[in-house]
Symmetry: C2
Subunit: 253 residues, 2 copies
DNA sequence: AGCTGTGAAAACCTTCACAGCG
DNA sequence: CGCTGTGAAGGTTTTCACAGCT
């Protein structure tokens, strides 16, 4: 998923598999909810259900962190919250900058989930001089000219790019040069970064296209088998251009 | 069996691996850029670089679609654009509804990438009566009460949830009952859906947490070899099961 | 008895390396 | 020759199933 230019295998003895790392935040969220309800312990089965995974996977994931459970009982909720938080590095404060304060950037600045877990929006940066000084989510927008200084003054190592695609690589280069080593990219473009810099991307359009693929597949199966769907299969797409004519006409030229 | 409904792709009939499907939009974007520059053909090496993957992977991916290249030459850009679009189901029109028109929902409604590829924002829906009728991105917001009718009238099969976490499952249930079979979820919660419904989630907080994990790991390695990095909030890395001055008392029953 | 932790098996994905075709 | 298409190898992730602890 992450598009690091040269991703290291990282198969260290102490290495936690990437797939596991990606699920830890999910477990943490479920555990936090249990914690708020003052639930003292939880079994792998229950926690897995809350996180939307199966219990064998969860136990395997936890086994990479250590032996934090009690056989016959389950896991201590508070203790696990702490261990996972520590493993993810959330026991420290991460100042973050958001570059590109358009609709999306503003929405991100306002997003509560950012602040809730160790992340602090240290600065908002935009290239439009007209925006400079204007507060968004209570934080004054600063101009791109000062990007390097802002990064440096705040000790920022994580940057969020929410600019238009055309500006993203340039912004990325400046962030990296200024010392940022992790980037969350919302611009629909592939960023190239030097080794050692992590990039994760979020692309709304790509997610929709993946859904469309499966949606199309479902429609095709429905036409072939008719009424086999467990859910509202009786439904028909109105904007379709002919479900029957949509048969794969695979034909290389 | 557990009640968890993790969607099982099942890989039926014309099985394209999930990992490949997830990359097709990436290739498509790179190809579209080439097409706009009137580039007639492209090699796997070039296209792979533009999409940020390696060429062997790209060729393997394309091999699942068919033999669309020409040995010694490469791929015909226009032809590939068409084939991938068709495979992804983008040659048809997908009406989409966005539920929850807060900061994020409004940003999504304004996001150009939606409209660009077969997706059309058919309606915006919000629970706040004060928003009803107010146009966002040129589309009037409608009230949640009319959700079912809106889905039905527009033949919507893809829904986007941008509500607060607390409302997400309820909205999801109504969307599914009304006939939606693909959901893109921005709310930080696990949705449970019946079999046959696809859910993809986008969680900003999770992405940041994954970055924080790697960032922390980098900081730790740096400390071992010195480096004078900009961010030096070095945390003590305890050994495997080092139960020293940890947070609350470990309290096994 | 109940539930975790984990080897082993299975499934899935990526990379290699080269045959085969234009 | 150059580049695609693909078996085979190698790596990662998931699932199984049960030993082992409480």
């Amino acid at each position: 998923m992450a598009t690091g230019r040269t991703h290291r295998p990282a198969t260290r003895s102490r290495g936690i598999p990437e797939a596991t790392v990606a699920r830890l935040p999910l477990y943490l969220r479920a555990l936090t909810a249990l914690s708020e309800r003052s639930v003292p312990t939880v079994s792998s089965e229950e926690l897995a259900a809350a996180a939307g995974v199966n219990s064998a996977k969860l136990r395997k994931d936890f086994s990479y962190l250590g032996s934090y459970g009690t056989r016959g009982v389950g896991y201590d909720v508070e203790y696990l919250v702490y261990q996972i938080s520590r493993e993810l590095g959330l026991t420290q404060d991460w100042p973050v900058v958001i570059v590109g304060i358009g609709n999306l950037g503003a929405a991100l600045a306002n997003y509560g989930g950012f602040a809730s877990r160790g992340f602090r929006v240290a600065a908002l940066i935009d290239a439009d001089p007209a925006m400079a000084g204007k507060p968004v989510a209570g934080i004054p927008v600063q101009h791109t000219d000062d990007l390097e200084k802002i990064i440096d003054d705040n000790g920022v190592s994580i940057g969020v790019i929410a600019t238009p695609a055309g500006a993203a690589q340039q912004v990325c280069d400046r962030l990296v040069a200024a010392g940022v080593t992790s980037i969350l990219n919302f611009a629909p473009t592939v960023l190239s970064v030097p080794e050692g810099v992590d990039v994760r991307k979020v692309d709304l359009s790509i997610e929709l296209q993946i859904l469309a693929f499966h949606e199309q597949r479902k429609a095709g199966e429905e036409a072939a088998a008719d009424g086999a769907g467990p859910v509202a299969a009786a439904r028909k797409k109105s904007a379709d251009k002919g479900p029957d004519g949509d048969v794969p006409a695979v034909m290389p030229a």
